[in-house]
Amino acid sequence: MLEINHIVKQYAGHRALDDVSARVEKGTIFGLLGPNGAGKTSLIRIINQITAPDSGEIYFDGERLNPSHIERIGYLPEERGLYKKMEIGEQMLYLARLKGLSKHEAASRIRHWFEKMEMQSWWNKKVEDLSKGMQQKVQFVATVIHQPDLIILDEPFSGFDPVNANLIKEEILALNRNGATIIFSTHRMESVEELCDSIILINKSKKILDGKVKAIKNAYRTNTYRIEHLPHHESIQGVEGLFSVQNQVTGEDSTVLTVSVAEGKAINDVLSYLIPIIQIHEIKEVIPSIHDIFVDQVMHGTPHPAIETAE
């Protein structure tokens, strides 16, 4: 869908993007992650052709990115905004027609979406009369009204109450099932990590990591497990060559044991050792969150080679 090759964007005295490359597969959900000021918005603006890169190029469906692609992209900027004094219906029509829809087509799609989102009565209202959450809904509809192939959402869930955030999330997933490719950009990594198929992590203008979420997590697995069991009269000790105990916390009616499995052994070996001793409630592998991986990457500062996700 999108191929980003060696993008460099220089502002006076500040390099916003430094040789950033990435691939967004068709029909996937892609996470563009990084702290504030990392360069996410700069990259999005380049994809939207709001600004141009100093060097590097982007291919959209195999073609060099050009103005004809604008109609196939839907963009929800981080800073939401609408004309305050304009009526909602008229405003939607205007925005949809700017995306190249005919008047008739635009009107019927807007009606469809308004019904779906239960916004029919808003048509003649002015934006300034709506609550912030309602405005966000209007903005979301405006983003997807032209059925874009690529939807770019910058901090999509900020400003929504939990009910509406969920509603929007469902709509996004539905759009994705219908074939749209989604790019999420956010600094709150935990909010999208379960949604994304692949991600790119940007910090200080540089890509520090990219690849499939599963592959990244696999690469960062430490063979650590969390075992919850009934409290035992004595604490569990590690066994040389089998496992070591990292942590042991006893709560009211259960104890949580965190163990590291030794090299060359599997969790099953550990379990067969433990089962005779304790009564196990639950066992779960401790997988680092993207956030943990990010912190790890930033702390150690070593550029990690892209994780191979060859298909």
């Binding site: 502002y11 006076a12 603006r45 939207n48 052709q49 709001i50 600004t51 141009a52 890169p53 100093d54 103005p67 604008i70 992209i73 963009y75 900027p77 800073e79 939401r80 905004g81 609408l82 004309y83 305050k84 004094k85 304009m86 205007y94 925005l95 027609r97 700017l98 995306k99 903005q139 405006a142």
Partner: protein, 440 residues
Amino acid sequence: MSKTALIIRREYLTRVKKRSFLLTTFLVPLFLIVVYVLAIILTANSFENSRAMVHVIDQSGLFQGRLPDTRNITFVAVSGEVSNAKEDIADDGAKTYLLVIPENVDKGAGVELFSSDIASIGTQDAIRDQLEGVLRDIAFEKAGIDRKTVENIRPEVRVQAKEITPDGEKESSAAAAIGVAMALSVLVYVCLLLYGTQVMRGIIEEKTNRIVEVIISSVKPFQLMMGKIIGIGLVGLTQFILWIALSTTLISVASAVFVDDDTIARVATGQTPGADPISVQQPAHYGAYSNVMQALGTVNFQGIIGAFLLYFVGGYLLYSALFAAVGSAVDSETETQQFMFPITIPLLFTYILSFGVLVNDPNGPLSFWLSMIPLTSPIAMLVRIPFGVPTWELALSLTLLVGGFILTTWVAARIYRVGILMYGKKASYAELVKWFRYKG
């Protein structure tokens, strides 16, 4: 519909549909008409209502039986003490005056006019004219000059200024040209600032609303900027056309309904009928009003309206691009001051000069250069046009103006595309230069 056309359409319609647009469009001509009609009616009425009773104490004895009543003034000869007479008029109230003529009035002593309120200028003038007339007659008699002879000797020279043009001679009137020139200068100055500021406000609104990022993900910043500039320019043109159409219809209707020609003529000449028997008998003096009409008739209005539209459009495009750049560079209207100042200086400078140098010496070197420089030509050239400007100068000035607005639009667009995405940064001139240099 192309995207720029869509933007123009939105900018135009949202403004034209606004209540404030309808109000200014319809109320301004209406207001002008009301003022015009009121002025005429009030002036006419004030003459009619100024009937006054004047008690005369003639200590000189020269005016006995020589002060005939006029339409507005009735003279009553009174004898006795001045102090008693003063009490009398105080009892009679307003509109009763006491005129005391001292003995040696023919030697230059002043007369006194008492009243319980302030005597109107019209009444004072009428009384003065009558007394002067009587004294003049007496002087003629003493010198043995027949009054009839004097009246018949009234040499009159009228100067008709004619301009030699390739089409032959045509009447010209410097006074009319000056009037029209000044009116144009005010109109262009006000309109350029008015609509330029509207462009700037619109851009600040989009920027602070943050809708700008949504829009420019669909269209190029240049399209958005030009759409706004053209849309608002069309609003301005619509307003002009409506103003001209409404005012002319309303004025002719109002004139026909409320005011008959006679009243206009009377008001225009500023004369009270019958106040001065000599001058009213002279029809040539009647014509101040018709002179104005005649003088205005020498002005080529079609040409001027055409030139006005051209220079308004050119000047508007040039200045609104600059205003657009300012709007994109700031976060709120309060921050615009430092950038607005240098933009308005050339306008203000020409505007002020147009009342002096430009109308006094419309073909001098300063006028010529000001009417060539694109920043000043929209005002300067319009001021010169009523006096006649060679075609080549017009063509050169317009070409430079077109070049000027292409240049400012290009510069403004480069600042605009960066500025609209910059938030919370206090823009300085150095910053603007940097933005201008950004690639892409």
